[in-house]
Every structure is written in structure tokens, then in C-alpha cells.
Amino acid sequence: MLEPFMVRALMAGLGLAIIAAPLGCFVVWQRMAYFGETVAQAGLIGVALGLALQMNVTLGVMLIAIVIACLLLWFSRQKFVALDSILGLLHHAALAAGVIAISMIRGPSVDVVGFLFGDVFAITREDLMWIFAGGAVVLAVVAWLWQPLLRIAVHEELAAAEGVDRGRVRTVFTILLAVMIAIAMKIVGFLLVMAFLVVPAVAARPLTGTPERMVVLTALIAAGSVLAGLWLSATVDSPGGPSIVIVMSVVAGVSLTMAALKRP
């Protein structure tokens, strides 16, 4: 029989695999991997905020993620410096500010490493509730906005000319990303959350011909990686989150290698 902590780890990991699949595909399609990375690393500030104000840490992370995303959009309005440089700036600024903020929290010391890499085996029932409730909301909104999101990903100008409200769709997507980061924090941590989104989608891309099939395959690859990663972790006693990420990375590597070999 599986230990209860293992059952919770499996439920959390598999749940996250399904929730992350559609968002991960959009992050890959819209080239937003580094954008998400920057927003995720600001999560530590959110943790500090939550602890300082004695409110829910998950809510604090969501709030800060949205603030950082808005800041990114605001800075990219100027045309002197490209977006990747702004991401480079905010990415490190957010991490530095987060570590400082955490160190200044009084009271019991906070496990920074736990937030950076997550601890899938320490998932509680309450965490599970957050994952499934948040995940249901994320999936419902993605299903609702599927067509407009896809049209913007294919050709933004054409979608806008055809009447898609790109400002609204982009805003909603950014909020979804923030929610996703907050619910994934306990499982894989801020440093690895974007891997959970991006890597299975990268692995699925060369093997699929329609966007919907890519999402389904992304979810399957992520779920398979969760199972294999947790087995690996239980067998060789490696940390859970990083084990899952390394499995999906190997799958992505194989998939890309096969795609590269097909090209003469």
C-alpha cells in the first residue's frame, strides 16, 4: 500500500500536470517562457508579504505575481530597451528583493529552499484543496477563452481586426499564469514551476499537428513524468520536484533529438 503522503504527492503532481498543460502550450506558442520565469521568481516577495501581513501565503504570491506582470508590461512600453533585457532586470531584482524580504521576517526562520524547489511530499490536505479548486478555475477560464487565445497566438493583428479584444485576453491570461504559479509553488517551487509548464509542451510539439492534440499530449507527458519522477524519488531518495522535472526534460530532449534527426 502507498503511504498517505505518497498518495497526496501523486494527486498533487497529476493534478498539476493536467492544469499546467494548456497554459504551458500557450506560454510556448507566445514565447513567454522567460516572462513566466520572471513572474515566478517574484513569488518569494509574495511569500514574505503573506507572512508579514499574516495572510494566506498563496494569495500573497498571486498578488505579487500580478504586480510584477503589470510592471513588465509597463516597462515594455518604452522602446529603448528590448523585453528580454527588462526581463533580465526584473528577474534578478525580484529574486534579490524576495530573499531580502524573507530574511527580514521576524519569528520562526523560513525555509527559502523549500519555496524555491517545493516539497511534493509535504503536501497537506489544505494544499490539495488549493490545487484542485484553483486548477478547476484555471481550466474553466482557459476552456472559455480557448478560441480567442488561440487566435491571438496564431496572429495577433488578424485576431484584433476580427474583433478579438486582445487587451482583455492578455490580461486574463496573465492572471491565470499568476494563479498557476501560486498553486504550483508547494509542489515544484518558484525555480522549477516554469519547467512544469514549458518542458512537457516542448516535448509534445514535434509529435503533434493540431493545437488541441498538443495540449492533450502535453498533459500525458507531464502526468507520465510525475509518475516516473516520484518513483525515481522514492527509489533513490532524490528530491521530488526536481526528479519530476528531470524526467520531463529527458523526454523533451529525446523528442527534440528525433525532430532534429528528421530534418536532412
Binding site: 506558442w29 478560441q147 497566438a153 496564431v154 493583428e157 488578424l158 481586426a161 476580427e162 499537428g209 493545437p211
Partner: protein, 302 residues
């Protein structure tokens, strides 16, 4: 037979004529303009008055009026940087003008074929899936439209695998699926030779006759336009002149130049400007280096 550029593109000292030379001094508000400004055309599909837009201290459009009526083919020409794409974006509502107004008929449905359609191979998408994206068309409709634009064979191909010309016809098919009453094409013949240009113009003309929509066609060629154009508008931040193109199909010299098939689809537009633009884009009255007709070769050819 000279090459295309040498014979047909305008001279460096290209002259434009103009009746409202004071246009730039006009106040930037619709209400402050003289009473002679015509009201929105009630028969038009889309009607623009006094459009002005500037970015970074540079005027992109100055006091532009434009009407497109039902079943009318309007060709918009002008040199690079003349604001053609900006005007299209304002008409489509993608950009807000600093002054002036756009009036759209209530039932206006626009089919849009953007200037460059760079499809990203990062997103998997078949032609049929793309055509049905965001709409509720039956598969038979998609098949029929694909046949109409001569691209049935692309049915199951990935968008990223198509050539530029094929992709353009697919985007045109997508625009047609929306059953538009106005079709907007931004430089659809860029980088295409005259026979490809003639072929596309024939297709657009045919589609207009079948579906009865109005067409706004942007072209970077200042002199050779679609023969079926009901009106040609020459834009260089302001409307320099507008008129009807001259059919060339009967003229042996053009038939030799383009080929018989192409000469039927193409026509020559002669500019009648009374001012010129210097290299910085400022207007000058005519007589400074260029004659009434801006096309130096035009007279000798026709």
C-alpha cells in the same frame, strides 16, 4: 523593354498635386474644419473624415478623407512610409486616430488580409483548422472556399509548410469565410511578379463580382494598379490625388510589356498633382523640378 523599376517607378523628384495645400495648418479637430467638408457618406460601407495621426512628433496621416461604397474596388497607393498601413489600421480600428472620425455602417463585416502573415511553426495548425478557428463554418463551406481561392490541395497541410503565396490565399479564404461586405488587403502583391499580380487581381475581381463586397486594396506600386479599380487614391500622409486608372489592355506596348493575359488585369494610374514633396516629406507647389504629371515616362508611353 526596360526593367520594371526603371520604367515604371517614379523619379526621385516625384511631384504631387494638391488642392488643399494649407491642409497641414488646419486645426486638428473635425468641428473646427471649414463647413465645406462633406459629411459621412450614408451609402458608404466605411467613411473617414479628417483623419490625423502622429507618432513621436512625426505626422503619419494628415486630414485624410475616405469613403468605400458597396461593390467598389478602391486601390490605395503611395510611396513607402506614406501611411497606407496606418490608414488601414485606423479604418480597422486597430489604431486610434489623434483627430478625425471613422464611421462604419452598422452591418459592416470586414475580411482582412494583413500585409505580412508570418505564421509561427511553434504552433501546430492545419489549414482547415485555421480556417475554422473562431468561427462556426461547416466543413463543406471550408472546402468550397478553399476551391474558390485555388488552394484545395492544401487542405490538411500545416500552415508553417506553405509558401508565401499559398499562405496569402489561405488568409484570403479565411477572410471570405466571414462573408464580409468589405475586403481589406494590405499589399497582397508585394514581391510578386506581374503575372502573379495579374492572377491575384483577376481572383479578387472575380470574387467581388460573385460575392458583391467592397474592396480596399493597398499597393506599393505607384503606377500599375488593378484594372478593375473603381477609384485609385494616392496617399502621401495626405490624399495627394485620386482618380480612375486607365486600362491598358488595348495598347500593344503594354500587351508586349506584361503579356496579353496580364494586360487585362493591370492598368496604369496617372497622377495629377500640383505640388511636390521634398526628401523630408514637406510639400512644395508644383513647378520645382517636376511637371504637372508626376510620371516622367507617362506621356511618352501612353
Amino acid at each position: 523593354m526596360g526593367d520594371r523599376e526603371g520604367r515604371l517607378s517614379p523619379g526621385a523628384e516625384e511631384a504631387h498635386s494638391h488642392s488643399h495645400v494649407q491642409g497641414q495648418e488646419l486645426s486638428c479637430s473635425l468641428d473646427a474644419r471649414p463647413k465645406s467638408v462633406p459629411p459621412f457618406d450614408p451609402n458608404a460601407l466605411i467613411s473617414a473624415r479628417g483623419l490625423g495621426i502622429s507618432r513621436g512628433g512625426r505626422d503619419l496621416l494628415v486630414d485624410v478623407d475616405l469613403d468605400i461604397r458597396e461593390r467598389e474596388i478602391v486601390t490605395l497607393i503611395g510611396p513607402n512610409g506614406a501611411g497606407k498601413t496606418t490608414l488601414v489600421r485606423v479604418l480597422l480600428g486597430l489604431e486610434h486616430p489623434d483627430c478625425g472620425k471613422v464611421w462604419r455602417r452598422k452591418d459592416l463585416r470586414v475580411g482582412y488580409v494583413p500585409q505580412r502573415f508570418d505564421i509561427d511553426s511553434v504552433i501546430p495548425m492545419t489549414v482547415t483548422r485555421f480556417l475554422r478557428l473562431g468561427g462556426h463554418e461547416a466543413p463543406e463551406c471550408v472546402t468550397k472556399i478553399l476551391a474558390e481561392v485555388d488552394a484545395s490541395y492544401t487542405h490538411d497541410q500545416q500552415l508553417a509548410e506553405l509558401s508565401g503565396g499559398e499562405l496569402q490565399r489561405i488568409v484570403l479564404a479565411r477572410a471570405l469565410l466571414r462573408t464580409p461586405n468589405l475586403l481589406v488587403l494590405d499589399e497582397p502583391v508585394q514581391g510578386v511578379d506581374y503575372s502573379g499580380e495579374a492572377e491575384l487581381y483577376n481572383l479578387i475581381g472575380h470574387l467581388r463580382d460573385v460575392h458583391g463586397f467592397g474592396v480596399l486594396l493597398v499597393s506599393h506600386d505607384l503606377h500599375i494598379v488593378m484594372a478593375k479599380s473603381d477609384r485609385v487614391i494616392c496617399l502621401n500622409r495626405h490624399v495627394c490625388c485620386s482618380g480612375v486608372p486607365e486600362t491598358v489592355a488595348q495598347h500593344p506596348a503594354y500587351v508586349r510589356l506584361f503579356g496579353a493575359e496580364e494586360a487585362r488585369a493591370l492598368a496604369v494610374y496617372r497622377h495629377h498633382h500640383d505640388h511636390s514633396h521634398d526628401i523630408a516629406g514637406h510639400m512644395h507647389p508644383a513647378g520645382e523640378g517636376a511637371g504637372e504629371d508626376s510620371d516622367p515616362q507617362g506621356g511618352s508611353r501612353a
